[in-house]
């Protein structure tokens, strides 16, 4: 058994510390240890993006990153984007525009959209397509997802959210 690694990081704005086995994937740390089950495991090869979280603002497949790598980093997940009673603007946009069908890809899409709108508050259609094509919606409801991203940009502008 290898020597555990001590890590400290920010998880959705809360300071966290953990002693982990070096071979722990970030997604397992988030789901098993901290109960962040909004982060979804799917392909587990970094391809589909259902497990996307933001690490220091960068969209990252948490199934393909070792947990030791987030020591000192800021990790944001869909769980930190709002609560059941108060959804964040990106989450509301997805519900308003029907940006999901089965919903399994939605947490990753929400985080990808959050990162996109921080970098491009008023994204072009090409920018939206370029970013969103990073993740896979197996229901193929891409048109509604693209509309949701546009709506999220509107909501953030209208409501003056800092979005991060």
């Amino acid at each position: 058994m290898s020597t555990p690694v001590e890590i400290c990081f920010s998880l959705d704005g809360q300071d966290r510390a953990a002693a982990i086995a070096p071979n722990t994937a970030l997604i397992d740390l988030l789901r098993d240890r901290f109960g962040v089950t909004g982060v979804k495991a799917s392909c587990e090869r970094g391809v589909c993006g259902a497990c996307t979280v933001l690490v220091d603002g960068t969209p990252t497949a948490s199934c393909s990153l070792f947990a030791f790598a987030v020591d000192g980093a800021r990790v944001e997940t869909v769980n930190g984007q709002g609560s059941e009673s108060s959804l964040g603007p990106v989450q509301r946009a997805f519900t308003e525009r029907g940006g999901f069908q089965c919903g399994y890809c939605t947490p990753g899409m929400v985080m990808l959209t959050t990162a996109l709108l921080r970098e491009h508050p008023d994204p072009s259609d090409e920018q939206i397509r370029t970013w969103i094509s990073s993740n896979i919606c197996r229901c193929t409801g891409y048109l509604m997802i693209i509309e949701s991203v546009r709506r999220a940009a509107e909501l953030i502008r209208e409501e003056g959210h800092a979005n991060g």
Partner: protein
């Protein structure tokens, strides 16, 4: 699946074998740690995780994230040096790359997806030796030299050497060095992916001649590279591609023809760029 207090969870860690973690600060420390049998180097980890899922056994993981200098990119007017740890997103926008080879910068911006480009590295892409990854095709066309250091000292290999498993045991890729760029042009065509990808590098000489070096790949098998004097008909260049370029998906005849057409388009683009430059003078 396991039932925890917060519900059913899928423990992906189960598929990744236990290993000792080393986090060196220098290249020499990294190579010393990587010299042990069963070790693997890790940078962006994008492909490494896929390898673990495919059964990679690793007893020592050497994380390169704290090793200084591996992400550096520089251009001295002749050679473009790209550190193996350069992330695609940064590399494709780096002023040295844009200035030395605008065609490479444009091609580099198109590979993979936006999310993967922000995490994966050029070193991981080349060392993975996966036909569907594109940097090997570009590097071979450019005649890139891959600079390694191993427990036995430094060495320089070609992209083909990496594909032919000639990397010494414990070898760590330091940089991708693209030489002779003073009068070089690079173009890339991926519109026929997954069937076909064409990278072309033109190096002009002072006597008005030069060479065209063409690498042709697909998502199904490793790429092939051929070279011809500048001015050779693109279809004739493509005709020299080996028969192995054909497979069950597309015949060698088809791929040679398509490669010739795409190469012709690239060379037309080069001629058009030259014409625009002449006009603006």
């Amino acid at each position: 699946m396991r039932m925890l207090s917060h519900g059913l969870v899928a423990p992906t860690q189960r598929t990744i074998p236990d290993f000792d973690l080393r986090r060196p600060l220098t290249v020499n420390e990294a190579v010393a740690a990587g010299a042990a049998g069963g070790s693997a180097y890790a940078q962006g980890c994008t492909d490494l995780f896929a390898q673990f899922r495919e059964g990679l056994r690793c007893t020592t993981l050497v994380s390169l994230d704290k090793v200084a200098g591996l992400r550096d990119i520089s251009y001295d007017g002749r050679t473009l040096r790209i550190g193996s740890g350069a992330i695609h997103h940064e590399g494709a926008r780096h002023p040295a790359v844009v200035s030395a080879l605008p065609g490479l910068a444009a091609a580099w911006r198109q590979i993979a997806t936006h999310r993967i480009r922000q995490r994966a590295t050029i070193g991981g892409n080349v060392m993975a030796r996966r036909p569907r990854y594109e940097m090997s095709i570009m590097c071979d066309s450019l005649g890139a030299e891959l600079s390694f250091i191993s427990p036995n000292g430094p060495c320089r290999l070609s992209t083909a050497d990496v594909w032919d498993s000639r990397v010494p045991p414990g070898g760590l890729l330091l940089s991708v060095d693209i030489p002779e760029l003073a009068c070089a042009w690079f173009g890339y065509e991926r519109s026929l992916r997954p069937l076909l990808t064409v990278a072309a590098t033109v190096r002009a000489d002072t006597a008005g001649g030069g060479t065209v070096r063409v690498s042709v790949g697909s998502e199904m098998h490793r790429h092939f590279t051929v070279e011809a004097p500048l001015g050779t008909d693109p279809m004739d260049i493509a005709a020299t591609l080996p028969g192995e370029i054909g497979d069950a998906v597309a015949s060698a005849r088809y791929r040679r023809h398509a490669a010739g057409v795409l190469l012709g388009r690239l060379l037309d683009r080069l001629a058009s760029e030259h014409a625009s430059e002449e006009k603006s003078r």
